[in-house]
């Protein structure tokens, strides 16, 4: 079966009707479900956090069968993810979509586990360090989207588990864990 880089594509990716938004309700629901699963699966394994509707996204076309999704179909599938709580629109015009294969709450739990595991309680890290520092290498937090990370940290701050403060450089923030 065909592959997209490291990603193995399912067989139905070569089924032409998969790329036409189906008008019959029941069929369409099934089609949307399969698209949701494929998008999430792809994003999780390839660490893709943002899908731009007008930009090239490898899943949205299959050159082998010369089919690609219409704008309407792309928006329909992403909207379905949004209403599941597994994605969020980043702008009003629905041009960019943030994919959350883990919900913000789950990301927050991952951070808590990471802090416990590495004994980082009461210590200070920058946001950038959590994303790309040596400590997080090998964990799911490594390479996480900044927006997602900040959202999760804010959630934890709200629960009183950490404090966010302005760091030394203007564009980075410090985090002090206090579990």
């Amino acid at each position: 079966m065909q592959k997209l880089g490291e990603f193995k594509l399912p067989n139905f990716f070569h089924y032409p009707p998969y790329f036409t938004l189906q008008p019959v309700r029941e069929t369409r629901e099934k089609q949307i479900q399969l698209w949701k699963e494929l998008i999430i699966d792809f994003c999780r394994t390839q660490k893709v956090f943002v899908i731009g509707l007008e930009e090239h996204f490898p899943l949205f076309s299959n050159p082998a069968i010369e089919r690609s999704l219409s704008h309407e179909a792309r928006e329909a599938f992403l909207s379905a993810l949004v209403s599941d709580g597994r994605a969020e629109w980043m702008d009003k015009d629905h041009r960019k979509c943030l994919i959350l294969w883990h919900r913000i709450q789950d990301w927050a739990d991952l951070i808590v586990n990471f802090v416990k595991e590495y004994g980082l309680d009461d210590s200070v890290m920058t946001v950038e360090e959590i994303r790309s520092g040596t400590e997080s290498r090998g964990t799911e937090l490594h390479g996480v989207d900044r927006t997602v990370l900040v959202r999760a940290l804010k959630l934890l701050e709200h629960k009183g588990k950490l404090a966010i403060f302005k760091g030394t450089s203007a564009d980075d923030e410090g985090v002090k864990f206090s579990l």
């Binding site: 089924y15 032409p16 069929t27 699966d41």
Partner: protein
């Protein structure tokens, strides 16, 4: 009950009378009673449809609780006397009554018709008189006449064997006059005989056409394998021509009056039976319009009349119905026609190795199913709505594929079961690559 006095009239599935060969409808009247005032044993048939044909006067129960409705007839040949319609002050208020005498199974009965509707009674009675006087029922009986009487005239005409009486005296002159008379009479008769012969021949032509048709029908089934395609083609064409010879007694506005659409509707229901069978239980309204008008010959109907006739089917117990697709395409289909059968055929159509890979278009389906492309598209869309098919819209066109989506497990999108259509499809596409 009525059967004791009056013979039952045969009705078609849609409740129209079955006419004898050569019989033509002349007029129709609704809500008429039929009874005998003198004979209390005679049944009182209340509020029925009166159909006057060239051969019979048929009474059909209108609001039928029984199916089929009661229908009886009085042969016009049995009518011995028609009483004129009484015009009195009283008749201005009461429903008009009309009497005639007929011999029914050997007994003379005076039958009264009471007209309760507000229809044109005078014209009906006029037509009744006309039909009675014209003796249309005798035309059929004399069918073999022309030949027999024709040969008789030949032997009588040359007079070779007749003994000639000498012309003598006043008696001779008188006889000569008589002979001259007879001669002119004979030549006149011959002239008319020619006309009758022509009519007789026309009948023979119709019979011949019928015979050819049945022969062709039996021929095409018994030796279809032996003959080549071209021959079969011409045979089918010929059959087609013969089949559409026509409707002998088309319902017209003139004959049916206010009952026009109702009767037209019933006649149409009878007519569509054969074309429906040939087109697999469903036929386009436009096709029926053409066929129906061709069969009617000169008494053409408007599209509006056709539509009204079709919409009236809901009210009658007829085996056909008008169906409107979501796309506003209208078709006539028999009530026994099932979509399931069509769906089964479509399913087998989209599951061959080639169609699994490439799908089908409406015209592909039209060719395989032997129906019009517009109709094929309706079937495909219906199958899609049922979840049997999925559509594929691309620059290449509009195609339909068998629905694989339902078989795929959304919890494990990489799972392929070792059976089912998804598995077959994967084999088909990998074989082609």
């Amino acid at each position: 009950m009525a059967g004791n006095w009056l013979p039952a009239a045969k009705l078609t599935g849609s409740g129209r009378p079955v006419l004898e060969p050569g019989e033509v409808e002349c007029s129709l009247l609704s809500s008429a009673d039929l009874l005998s005032e003198e004979n209390p044993n005679f049944p009182h048939l209340k509020s029925g449809l009166l159909i006057l044909t060239t051969h019979r006067l048929i009474w059909v129960q209108e609001s039928s609780t029984t199916s089929p409705p009661i229908a009886v007839f009085i042969p016009l040949s049995g009518v011995t006397h028609i009483f004129p319609l009484k015009k009195s002050i009283k008749s201005m208020f009461a429903s008009p009554r009309f009497r005639f005498q007929a011999s029914l199974k050997g007994t003379m009965v005076v039958i009264t018709l009471i007209f309760r509707g507000k229809s044109d009674i005078d014209s009906f009675l006029e037509k009744f008189w006309e039909a009675w006087r014209r003796k249309g029922w005798e035309d059929g009986v004399v069918k073999s006449g022309p030949e027999a009487s024709g040969s008789g005239h030949v032997s009588g005409g040359n007079g070779g064997f007749a003994v000639r009486m000498p012309v003598v005296g006043v008696a001779g002159i008188l006889r000569k006059e008589q002979e001259m008379w007879e001669n002119t009479d004979k030549s006149l008769q011959d002239a008319f005989q020619d006309l009758n012969a022509l009519m007789g021949k026309a009948k023979e032509m119709v019979i011949l056409a019928e015979r050819m048709r049945t022969k062709l029908l039996s021929g095409s089934t018994s030796q279809a394998t032996g003959t080549n395609d071209e021959e079969i083609g011409t045979k089918e064409e010929m059959q087609e021509l013969l089949l559409s010879v026509g409707i002998v007694s088309p319902v017209t506005k003139e004959s049916a009056g206010a009952l026009y659409h109702q009767q037209l509707s019933r006649q149409l229901a009878d007519f569509v039976k054969i074309p429906l069978e040939r087109s697999g239980g469903m036929i386009n309204l436009i096709d029926i319009y053409c066929l129906f008008n061709r069969a009617r010959g000169t008494e053409l109907i408007s599209p509006d009349d056709l539509l009204r006739a079709c919409s009236l089917w809901e009210k009658f117990d007829v085996p056909v119905m008008l169906r409107k697709f979501d796309s506003d395409v209208m078709v006539i289909q028999s009530k026994s026609h099932s979509d399931d059968e069509v769906f089964t055929r479509i399913r087998s159509l989209v599951t061959t190795p080639d169609t699994l890979r490439a799908g089908i278009t409406a015209s592909d389906a039209a060719m395989t199913l032997g129906i019009a492309p517009a109709m094929a598209k309706e079937h495909l869309l219906a199958a899609e709505a049922k979840g049997l098919l999925c559509r594929d819209v691309s620059p290449d066109g509009f195609r339909f594929f068998v629905n694989l989506l339902q078989e795929i497990d959304a919890d494990d999108i990489f799972l392929v079961k070792e059976y089912g259509i998804y598995h077959t499809w994967i084999k088909a596409i990998s074989a082609a690559r």
